[in-house]
C-alpha cells in the first residue's frame, strides 16, 4: 500500500510574512511572488512550513482550529488550496 501524499513548503525558499488581522501577506524569496492569504490558507501554509503533512492531517487540524466537522466540503477546499499552492510554487509533494 503506497503512502499517502505529503505536502510541505519548498524548503529552499524562504517565506517572509506580515499579517494585519485576518490578512496575511507572504513574500516568497524563491519565486519573487507575493501572496495575500486569509486565515485558512495562512494556517495551512504555516503548518506546512513547520513540517510535512497529508491532506488528512491538515483536515484534522482545520477541524480542530476552526471547531468544525471534517467533511467533504472541507476536504474539497483543502485539496483545491493545496493544488493552488503547488501551482504557485509555494509547496511541493514529497511522496
Amino acid at each position: 500500500m503506497s503512502e499517502p501524499v505529503k505536502w510541505r513548503v519548498i524548503s529552499v525558499f524562504t517565506l517572509h510574512w506580515c499579517s494585519w488581522g485576518d490578512e496575511h501577506v507572504v513574500y516568497n524569496a524563491g519565486s519573487g511572488d507575493t501572496h495575500l492569504f486569509n486565515d485558512f490558507a495562512a494556517l495551512i501554509l504555516r503548518t506546512l512550513q513547520e513540517k510535512a503533512a497529508t491532506l488528512e492531517e491538515l483536515s484534522q487540524l482545520c477541524a480542530t482550529s476552526f471547531k468544525q466537522d471534517e467533511d467533504e466540503e472541507l476536504n474539497a477546499q483543502l485539496n483545491e488550496l493545496l493544488l493552488e499552492l503547488d501551482r504557485l510554487g509555494v509547496i511541493e509533494r514529497i511522496h
Binding site: S31, L43, S65, Q77
Partner: protein, 248 residues
C-alpha cells in the same frame, strides 16, 4: 470592509514574521467557520497573488518572458514606448546587411510593396484568379535563391536557418511573403523578421538563438515556453508578441 483603526502601527518592528493581535484563526462559531472557508464574503478568494515581474526588457515587454508575466496595465509604460524592431514590411524591401542572411537576387527594393506587395496587387484583383501564378512565380523565382528558411532541404544539401520542414524549400524571403494557408497566422514571416532583428539590432529583446528556440518549440510542441518553464505562449500569442517588438 475591514476596519483597520485598531491595527497597531509599528514600523520599527522587524518585518519578518510580523504578527498582529488576532491574526491566529481560533474562533469557531458557525458564521466564522463559513467566513474562514470562503473568505470575508462568500465570494472572497482564499488568496491573491502579485507575480514577480522580470526586470529586463526595458520595462516595455520586449522579451518573451516579460510578455508572459508582465503587468498588462498601461501603467505609465506608454504604449508608444516599444522595442525597436523592424517589421515584416521593412525586411521585404530593405537590405539584410549584418544579418548573415541573403534575401535573394529578387529581394529588397525592386519587389517591395510598391509594385508586387499586398497594398496594390493583392488577392482581390490581381490574385490567383487572373494573374496569380505567372506574376507570383516570376517574383518568387527571384526570391528563391536567398538563404533557405530551413536548415536542410529535401536533397539534404542546402544550409538554412530553422529546423524542421514546415516551409519546405522556401527561402526566408519567400516565407516573409507567404500568406494564408502557406503561413498560418503569418508565423513564419514574423519569425523571419524577429530573427533578422535579433541578428542586426544589439538591443533587441531576443537573441538569434532565442528566436530559433521559439520557432523550434512551436513546431515541435505547439507552444512556446520562455526559459523552458512557466507560462506558455500559443502561435497567435507569439505572433502578437513579435508584432509588439516592431517599431517601423
Amino acid at each position: 470592509m475591514t476596519d483597520n483603526k485598531d491595527i497597531t502601527k509599528s514600523s520599527s518592528q522587524s518585518v519578518q514574521n510580523l504578527e498582529r493581535e488576532g491574526s491566529e484563526p481560533t474562533v469557531g462559531n458557525f458564521e466564522h467557520r463559513r467566513r474562514i472557508l470562503k473568505g470575508a464574503a462568500a465570494a472572497a478568494p482564499l488568496m491573491m497573488t502579485v507575480a514577480s515581474r522580470p526586470v529586463l526588457g526595458m520595462g516595455t515587454r520586449c522579451t518573451p518572458s516579460a510578455w508572459v508575466s508582465g503587468n498588462l496595465s498601461d501603467h505609465g509604460k506608454d504604449r508608444h514606448l516599444s522595442c525597436g524592431g523592424r517589421s515584416i514590411r521593412y525586411w521585404k524591401s530593405h537590405d539584410w546587411g549584418g544579418s548573415g542572411c541573403y534575401p535573394g537576387s529578387g529581394g529588397g527594393n525592386k519587389w517591395g510593396d510598391n509594385k508586387w506587395g499586398d497594398n496594390k496587387w493583392g488577392d482581390n484583383k490581381w490574385g490567383d484568379n487572373k494573374w496569380g501564378g505567372s506574376k507570383r512565380s516570376k517574383s518568387n523565382k527571384s526570391k528563391s535563391d536567398g538563404t533557405p528558411f530551413h536548415q536542410f532541404s529535401r536533397s539534404g544539401h542546402r544550409r538554412g536557418v530553422f529546423p524542421g520542414r514546415q516551409y519546405r524549400d522556401k527561402s526566408m524571403m519567400e516565407v516573409l511573403w507567404s500568406k494564408g494557408n502557406e503561413d498560418p497566422d503569418q508565423l513564419g514571416a514574423h519569425i523571419v523578421a524577429a530573427y533578422l532583428n535579433a541578428k542586426t539590432i544589439p538591443e533587441y529583446g531576443m537573441t538569434p538563438n532565442q528566436v530559433l528556440d521559439m520557432y523550434n518549440q512551436l513546431e515541435r510542441r505547439g507552444y512556446y515556453q520562455p526559459g523552458g518553464a512557466g507560462a506558455r505562449m500559443s502561435r497567435k500569442e507569439v505572433v502578437m508578441f513579435i508584432q509588439n517588438t516592431f517599431s517601423h
